[in-house]
């Protein structure tokens, strides 16, 4: 891996749209070319080098490129958007749309991200060390396809509409989630280790999708029907993966846990599941 370091200098008051901070874009370019990559601030166009000091090595291929943003950039949007390979590490916060529509590689943010992190993600791994705001892994307005693959791991809390219109992939929130998690979900998995707020799985259709609540649940929609309490074998696979693949140590305590199984949302003829871990 060749490491390219972007050190934030002076940031404008309005957000910087910097989808060029992506291994696919920088790979194969010179440092001078990278400094000149276009970013948008409002209706004006600037060079990336106006906001970041650019140093380090550039790889020929995206898969061998690592980009380190050495500082907090909460107003820089679209970091790693549409990335397909390589890795990005943000040593601090990242702005809206971080990792949106990414299809591969690994993007790690040490602190918080703002809205739409991992929106319409297709693949890869997005790690958020702090909180992620609203619409994490969600579908953009007007789209019926949210996350289609990959994994989002949020160490802190996530806001509302987490995983809306999700089709495939996995979202793991170690903290709480806001209302409407998994709204319109049609596949994929959401794991919530903290408190799940109301309207969980609203209008979810199913297609193998489920929301696993491993902490408290504020309330369930009446359109979810209780089936049974059992120990699903499949949960053992997920809990092992969470522990061994993602380092979610809490998962181990749920390996043999019984789950209450609810099916819905019957308001839309859905067949999705909400699995709520019984207190052991």
């Amino acid at each position: 891996m060749k490491e390219l370091t972007l050190t934030p200098t002076t940031m404008p008051k309005i957000p910087v749209e910097a989808e060029v901070i992506c291994p696919d874009v920088v790979a194969g370019r010179t440092l001078e070319e990278i400094r000149g990559l276009k970013v948008y601030v409002g209706n004006s166009v600037h060079g990336l080098g106006e906001f970041f000091e650019v140093e380090g090595e550039v790889a020929d291929k995206a898969a061998e490129q690592m980009i380190v943003i050495d500082g907090s950039v909460p107003t820089v949007k679209y970091i790693g958007a549409k990335m397909s390979a390589g890795s990005i590490l943000v040593r601090g916060c990242a702005g809206m749309h971080t990792g949106a529509q990414m299809s591969g590689g690994e993007l790690s943010v040490e602190e918080n991200t703002r809205n739409w992190a991992g929106a319409e993600m297709r693949g890869g791994l997005l790690r958020i060390g702090g909180d992620s705001r609203n619409q994490t892994g969600a579908a953009y307005r007007g789209s019926s396809e949210g996350m289609m693959g990959g994994c989002i791991l949020v160490e802190g809390d996530a806001g509302f509409e987490t995983g809306s219109f999700m089709r495939r992939g996995m979202i793991v929130v170690k903290g709480d989630v806001g209302p409407f998690a998994g709204v319109h979900m049609n596949g994929g998995e959401i794991f919530v280790f903290g408190r799940a707020a109301r309207r969980l799985g609203a209008e979810a259709k199913g297609n193998g999708g489920f929301i696993a609540c491993l902490g408290e649940v504020e309330s369930l929609l009446p359109t979810y029907v209780y089936d049974t309490t059992y120990v699903p074998t499949m949960m053992k696979l997920y809990m092992r993966q969470l522990k061994e693949g993602l380092g979610v140590l809490k998962a181990e305590s749920f390996l043999d846990a019984p789950f209450r199984r609810y099916r819905g949302d019957v308001a839309v003829g859905g067949n999705a599941e909400i699995l709520i871990a019984e207190k052991l």
């Binding site: 890869g124 791994l125 990959g150 994994c151 495939r168 199913g206 699903p232 696979l237 599941e273």
Partner: protein
């Protein structure tokens, strides 16, 4: 021609292996007992394709830390003459013997990158769910891609992987253990089986891994396509005109093994032969072949043992 190993005469010949399709699956259950029950039931009546729909046996017990769901597992290998003739018995046997067995789940034991084909076994078994089966997708676009089916059953839920890996494999690896007494021959054969099962990706489908009634192709009866291996029956060695039982040999047991590749079969044959030669009373070891006319693999004993 022959050579000596631990004081036992080994004939310089070869076992004639033939090509089959093989698959490997891992059955897990709440404890070792139920995993083994499911595996034993599934591999019943699967000694030889002469009269069985497939050849199958337990490969090994899999510790919980090596199984996908962290429960005790048992690895089973199944062999058939074609992809179709492998898929059908797998489907039937999993459906009747594993699906029905309490607490079990079943996983592919031959990864796609090592397989020549992926068989839609779980994909067919899912219909047992009568529309209530749930597709389970794991690792999309991330660390890989795995597909399972969750089938509701009266006891809870049966989890089955969608596809099972299969590859062109080697069947018919064998050697004959010949001893002065029945007891010595049996003990040597048992030790051979123990040694063979230390080699991965190999099974011994006969009872306890052993076949006391090795067969030859054809018979004097027109309706019977295989009959007792007369040249190797000590009881008729003076009566049968072309007996191949050496002087002083009173019992012969055949060890038959199938493996996912030639290298594994040879390694297992070598391990088995070495173990068998350590038993007193064993005098001669040879292998069965048809002059190289039937099978495409000539598994030479000398070659397997690494003897120059």
């Amino acid at each position: 021609m022959s050579f000596m190993l631990n004081g036992v005469e080994i004939e310089d010949t070869f076992a004639e292996g033939f090509s089959m399709w093989g698959s490997r699956i891992v059955i897990t259950a709440v404890n070792r007992r139920w995993a083994n029950i499911a595996a034993s039931t599934m591999t019943g009546f699967a000694t030889s394709v002469i009269a069985c729909d497939c050849e199958a046996s337990i490969e090994r017990e899999v510790p919980p830390d090596e199984t996908p769901d962290g429960r005790p597992g048992t690895a089973v290998m199944v062999f058939g003459f074609s992809r179709g003739r492998l898929t059908t018995p797998m489907l039937n046997r999993i459906g009747q013997c594993v699906l029905t067995c309490p607490t079990t789940a079943i996983f592919n034991g031959l990864p796609e990158e090592e397989a020549d084909a992926m068989l839609d076994v779980g994909k067919s078994i899912r219909f047992f769910g009568d529309g209530y089966q749930v597709k389970m997708r794991m690792d999309d676009g991330w660390v890989g891609r795995r597909r399972f089916w969750r089938i509701p059953v009266m006891e809870g839920e049966f989890l089955v992987e969608e596809k099972f890996g299969a590859k062109r494999a080697v069947a018919g690896g064998n050697f004959l253990v010949m001893g002065e007494t029945e007891a010595a021959t049996l003990e040597a054969s048992e030790r051979a089986i123990e040694a063979i099962h230390t080699v991965p990706l190999v099974i011994t489908p006969f009872p306890g891994g052993l076949c006391r009634s090795g067969s030859k192709v054809g018979s004097t009866y027109p309706f019977l396509r295989a009959s007792t291996n007369t040249p190797f029956c000590p009881a008729i060695k003076e009566t049968f005109p072309d007996s191949q039982v050496p002087e002083g040999i009173n019992s012969v047991i055949e060890v038959v093994l199938n493996g996912l590749d030639e290298k594994s079969v040879k390694a297992a044959m070598a391990a088995g032969i070495r173990a068998a030669t350590e038993v007193e009373g064993v005098k001669w070891i040879t292998a069965v072949n048809f002059g190289g006319k039937l099978g495409k693999y000539n598994l030479g004993l000398k070659d397997a043992l690494g003897v120059s």
